[in-house]
Symmetry: C2
Subunit: 337 residues, 2 copies
């Protein structure tokens, strides 16, 4: 999937910012690609970028209308359909993170075909992948793993991409989730791939590269999550990670959506190394990334210092304290060839 | 997916028995459901059951035409389409293990809709599943796991179903692969489920049951297979297995389709227990099933005796020597409540 940039961001008439979470993520990480926003009457989200009509967006160079919002009830409302059809008529591609496939709406499918425009359903994939082979490929790879879902895996690799590039390293974010696909303009929502092809899809998303090139692969789920551990394992095997960062949220008491307790960071490190060795015998941890949002600054610093001492790894909150310590460790552990 | 029985087996004009492997599997395990076979000129497969026309099959009570064959090139030949349409016209449902979806062929889709018949694409699933919850549910569950793919996991659970029922136990085969779905008339090809829903699909396939009821769940892949370990792990977590049998093929030197060496049976037992504990802390091995086809009888017996002594578990070849020793162990380890 390759989405043409830049984007006009469609927010519809969502009731709050949370319903436009994906759009905010895209704007935060790719501000240059987010030229304008298009909002309908009643919209309560605002990306803080210029409001534009379809015509104004085209004049500014926009190529894709991005539907980065959640629609209540899973059904595409008629007035959204009308706007999407109008965008196709005007010459936009349309990329959507909705559960509903754009192509399943006859008016949209018909307009796209007639006008020769692309429809991208980021939550779905029609691409076919080979099964994973587990054969070592050149290039370096870092994967974020977690004690749970939604603990900052995407944020951490995006912050690392920025931090490593600032140090002159050759590093690319590799998306495996829907927001990540919008942010990189390519990639695969790995949770939408048919089960047999998880590791193969990751091998495709992060192909052979130059020896010093880093692919920074967005992790998903947790090896300890009873709903999603299979996805996490296929991702780990396909990534053939040389390095991994453990992401953690310290205030959570049960894993997201289930009643299971959180594993310790130690358990996650040990199991990731144990299982990751199947496709990369040299896999090693290079840091810990903690979401300390719920903690005061002193408390956050004490927690991170304690973790760094306990695990012998840099520990940071990428949002609050940056990723310099992680980049230092990566540079030290993986000298240029 | 619930397929109406009994079946008329469609073999088309396949060049050899291998191309009809699924059909042979169904006939072996559900001879009572396989009323007749329908072969086209040039067919080189023969299930050893009466050849029948569509009309003769209907007269014998057949309700579903089963396309249990592989078509070369992945494209459905026109003369097969004509037969499938004729079956729908005659009043059959059609169930297929082809890669091509029946409903993607306009003539077939149209005939099914017009006649109100069901199309079952066993390799695909349109069913939506919840994500797995990992919550313990009543009933007992046995899962077959493997040192590799294609080492007898389906055969072993089917043999156990037969053997346990003969001992008066309440046991049901639970299919997770396409041949298994035909054999049980229900289930899900787990490798075709979208990645996020692997464990949830298994929870659906093997729901809460009476305390002494056994679900015998067909395993897939191997936790040590770099292509499919994610599927195997999601299956293990969803199954919440109380007991597992390790399946093994002793002459293989690398894992199927890749260059990785086979794990030992010990490694498979240890990792299955370690990872399976996430959703069932009491998981335990109850036996080893070895495909000894490539060995002479004496050699096979020596191998099995050696394994039994080494692991303290019954070891058998279910095809050659039956599953009585496995059933003995299950009865001993899990007394009636």
């Amino acid at each position: 999937m390759q989405i043409a940039t830049p984007y006009l961001m469609f927010l519809g008439d969502v009731p709050d910012a949370l319903a436009a979470k994906t759009a905010y993520g895209i704007k935060d990480w790719r501000p240059d690609w987010c030229i304008g926003q298009m909002r309908l009457p009643g919209c309560n989200a605002d990306l803080g970028i210029p409001d534009m009509t379809l015509e104004e967006g085209l004049a500014k160079g926009c190529r894709t209308l991005v539907v980065g919002v959640v629609n209540a009830g899973g059904v595409l409302p008629d007035h959204w359909i009308a706007e999407i059809v109008a965008a196709l008529e005007a010459g936009y591609d349309v990329a959507s993170g909705l559960h509903v496939r754009l192509g399943a709406v006859p008016a949209i499918a018909e307009a796209a075909e007639r006008r020769g425009r692309q429809l991208h359903d980021v939550r779905h994939t029609t691409e076919t992948f080979p099964t994973g082979k587990g054969t070592r490929r050149p290039g370096r790879r870092l994967l974020t793993v977690g004690t749970d879902c939604s603990v900052g895996k995407k944020y951490t690799v995006l912050a690392l991409e920025k931090g490593m590039r600032e140090r002159g390293l050759d590093a690319d974010f590799r998306a495996t989730g829907q927001t990540g696909v919008f942010i990189s303009g390519r990639g695969v929502a790995i949770d939408a791939v048919v089960a047999d092809f998880i590791s193969g899809a990751v091998e495709t998303v992060s192909p052979a590269a130059a020896p010093d090139h880093w692919d920074l692969i967005e992790g998903q789920g947790s090896l300890y999550h009873p709903s999603f551990a299979g996805v996490s394992l296929g991702l780990l095997h396909g990534a053939q990670a040389d390095a991994f960062v453990v992401c953690h949220e310290p205030t959570r008491t049960t894993m997201r959506g289930v009643q299971h307790p959180l594993p310790t960071i130690r358990q996650v490190i040990d199991l990731t190394v144990q299982l990751g060795r199947l496709t990369n015998p040299d896999i090693r941890p290079v840091g810990i990334a903690v979401n300390t949002q719920a903690l005061g600054e002193d408390e956050a610093r004490r927690l991170l210092e304690g973790l760094a001492a306990e695990y012998g790894l840099p520990a940071t909150d990428p949002v609050r304290f940056g990723v310099a310590s992680l980049v230092d460790r990566i540079v030290a552990d993986f000298p240029a060839t």
